[in-house]
C-alpha cells in the first residue's frame, strides 16, 4: 500500500471513454497499465507519482483522481480539492 500518493481510476468513467490508452502513454513513471480493457493502477508505483498531472489533463472522461495522502489533497481533471485548494 502506498504511503504518500493514492491514484484512483473510476471504472465507470474510464469505460465510457474506451478505447483509450491516454494515461498509460503519458505517465512518465508508469503508474498505469491496461487491465481488462480499462486503465489499472500499478500499486507499487503509486509513490513514484511526480504530480505532473499529465494523466489528469489527458483523460477524456475525468476518470482519474490523485490523492496526496500527506496533505489531504485530491487532484482531478476538474481541479484541486483539499488543503491546496
Amino acid at each position: 500500500m502506498s504511503l504518500f500518493i493514492a491514484v484512483r481510476v473510476d471504472p465507470e468513467r474510464c469505460r465510457a471513454g474506451q478505447p483509450c490508452t491516454a494515461c498509460i502513454g503519458v505517465c512518465p513513471v508508469t503508474i498505469f497499465e491496461g487491465r481488462d480493457g480499462l486503465a489499472g493502477v500499478i500499486g507499487e508505483n503509486e509513490d513514484e507519482c511526480i504530480l505532473c498531472d499529465l494523466c489528469l489533463a489527458r483523460c477524456p472522461t475525468d476518470a482519474i483522481a490523485i490523492h496526496k495522502l500527506y496533505a489531504d489533497e485530491i487532484r482531478t481533471g476538474a481541479g484541486v480539492q483539499g488543503s491546496a485548494k
Binding site: 504511503l3 504518500f4 513513471v29 509513490d47 513514484e48 511526480i50 504530480l51 500527506y70 496533505a71
Partner: protein, 397 residues
C-alpha cells in the same frame, strides 16, 4: 574503473597492439616458472592502480634471473603508496630507440574526446614544465565517426614523423582511438609508446580506465578477461557497497547507491554538485563518525532512495541518518523526502528519532517540507549552511 597494467595490456594485445612478452606473478612460488618464460633484460613491475610507479621504485629493470627474483620478492612483500602489491608483471624489456606519448581522454571543459600525442614520452611528460606545450599534438575525436586513417596520419605528421615511422605510429593512433570508443574508456594512455631499433611501435606501459556507467555493456571485461568490477581505490567492493550498487541499478533514474563504507554510527544520504564532500567533511569536522560516504542526485526514484535508506540503516551500529544536499535543481526535494521516510519506516524505525538532519533545499521544496511536517521530521532550508546542518546532525547522535 581503472585497470591494472597487465589487464590493460591483455586487452590491447587482443586489439592488435604490440605488447612485450610477459607473465603475471602473484606468489613467490610462481617466480621460478615465470622467470624461465622471459628473456633478459626484463622489467619487474608492481601492479597497483596508481601512476608514478617508477618514482616509487615499483618498476625495476633487471638484468638476470637472480636480480629479478630479488626485486620480485621485495615488491611482493610490500606496498606502493599504501597499495598492497598483489601481483607483479615480469616482462621483457623493450629495446627503446625513442619514446612517444599517446593518450585519448575526455576534455571535461570542452566536453569532447581528445587525442594527445607527443614525440617525447616517459616520466612527467604531461607536466607543463617537462614538455613544451607546443610539442603536444591535440586533436578532437568525433565519437560517432571515430578517427579515420588519414586523420591518424595527420597526427603522426604533426608529431614530426615521416615515412615508415609515420605509418607505424598512425596505425597505433588509430587503434588507440578505436579502443577508447569501443571499450567506453575515460582514459587510454600509452606512455611510453616505444619505437624499437627495428622500427616497431611497442606499448611499454599502458593506463586504461573504463567508464563505470558503461560497464553493463562491457561484459567481456569480466567474462573474457576475468576483470571484476572494483572501486576507484582498486579494492573489491564490500558487501555493503555491492548491495548499494544493486540499489542504484534498480532503475535508470538518477543516482542513489554509490557509497563507500566507513565504520561510524551516522548514516549519510548526501550529494549535489560536490556537496557530498562538503557534508562529509563538515560531519567529520564536528566530531561525527560517518557510516558511509555517498552520492545521490539526478532525481533518483523514490524506490531507490527508500532502498538505500533501508540499507544504510540496516548496518550494525548505525544510529541515525543525515540527509544533506546542496540546493538542488535537478533533484526533487519531495521525492527525496518520500524515499527517506519510506525507507526509514520499512527499516522499522521512527522517522522523527532516526533522521538527524534533513537539509535538501531546491526544486519542490515546499512539497517536501509539507511531507516532512506531516511526519514530524525536522528539516532546514537553504538558510542553514551545509556545515551547520552537519553540526546539527552530529549533535543529535
Amino acid at each position: 574503473m581503472r585497470l591494472l597494467e597487465y589487464e590493460a595490456k591483455q586487452i590491447l594485445r587482443d586489439r592488435g597492439f604490440e605488447i612485450p612478452r610477459g607473465v603475471v606473478v602473484r606468489r613467490a612460488g610462481e617466480l621460478d616458472q615465470a622467470l624461465r618464460s622471459v628473456s633478459f633484460p626484463a622489467m619487474v613491475k608492481a601492479q597497483v592502480p596508481i601512476g608514478g610507479r617508477g618514482k616509487a621504485v615499483a618498476v625495476l629493470r633487471v638484468e638476470d634471473a637472480r636480480t629479478a627474483r630479488d626485486a620480485a620478492e621485495r615488491l611482493l612483500c610490500g606496498q606502493v603508496r599504501g597499495y598492497p602489491v598483489e601481483a607483479l608483471l615480469v616482462e621483457e624489456a623493450v629495446p627503446i630507440h625513442r619514446e612517444f606519448f599517446l593518450a585519448v581522454t575526455y576534455d571535461t571543459v570542452e566536453k569532447q574526446v581528445i587525442l594527445l600525442a607527443s614525440g617525447a614520452g616517459g616520466v612527467d611528460v604531461e607536466s607543463p614544465d617537462q614538455a613544451s606545450p607546443g610539442r603536444m599534438v591535440r586533436r578532437v575525436l568525433d565519437v560517432r565517426r571515430g578517427l579515420q586513417e588519414f586523420e591518424a596520419r595527420q597526427v603522426a605528421a604533426k608529431v614530426g614523423l615521416a615515412g615508415r615511422d609515420l605509418m607505424g605510429f598512425a596505425g597505433v593512433v588509430r587503434q588507440a582511438a578505436d579502443t577508447f570508443l569501443g571499450l567506453d574508456c575515460t582514459l587510454l594512455e600509452i606512455n611510453p609508446l616505444a619505437r624499437t631499433d627495428e622500427g616497431r611501435f611497442v606499448v611499454a606501459d599502458a593506463h586504461l580506465e573504463v567508464d563505470e556507467d558503461a560497464l553493463y555493456r562491457q561484459g567481456d571485461l569480466e567474462k573474457a578477461y576475468g576483470i571484476p568490477r572494483r572501486e576507484a581505490t582498486g579494492r573489491a567492493p564490500t558487501e555493503f557497497e555491492r548491495r548499494a550498487a544493486e540499489v542504484d541499478g534498480i532503475d535508470h533514474r538518477g543516482v542513489a547507491g554509490r557509497v563507500i563504507e566507513f565504520d561510524g554510527n551516522l548514516g549519510l544520504l548526501i550529494g549535489g554538485g560536490g556537496a557530498s564532500l562538503t557534508a562529509f567533511d563538515a560531519i567529520r569536522r564536528h566530531g561525527g563518525r560517518p557510516a558511509n560516504y555517498c552520492e545521490i542526485g539526478g532525481n533518483p526514484s523514490v524506490r531507490k532512495v527508500a532502498e538505500l535508506t533501508k540499507l544504510i540503516l540496516s548496518r550494525p551500529g548505525v544510529e541515525r541518518i543525515a540527509v544533506i544536499m546542496n540546493v538542488v535543481s535537478n533533484t526533487r526535494v519531495d521525492l527525496i523526502a518520500r524515499g527517506v521516510i519510506q525507507g526509514t519506516l520499512e527499516a522499522g524505525r521512527d522517522p522523527v528519532s532516526t533522521i538527524a538532519a534533513f537539509r535538501v533545499p531546491g526544486s519542490w521544496e515546499e512539497e517536501g517540507f509539507t511531507l516532512l511536517r506531516k511526519y514530524g521530521v525536522e528539516f532546514c532550508d537553504r538558510g542553514v549552511s551545509i556545515d551547520e546542518a552537519g553540526r546539527r546532525a552530529v549533535k543529535e547522535i
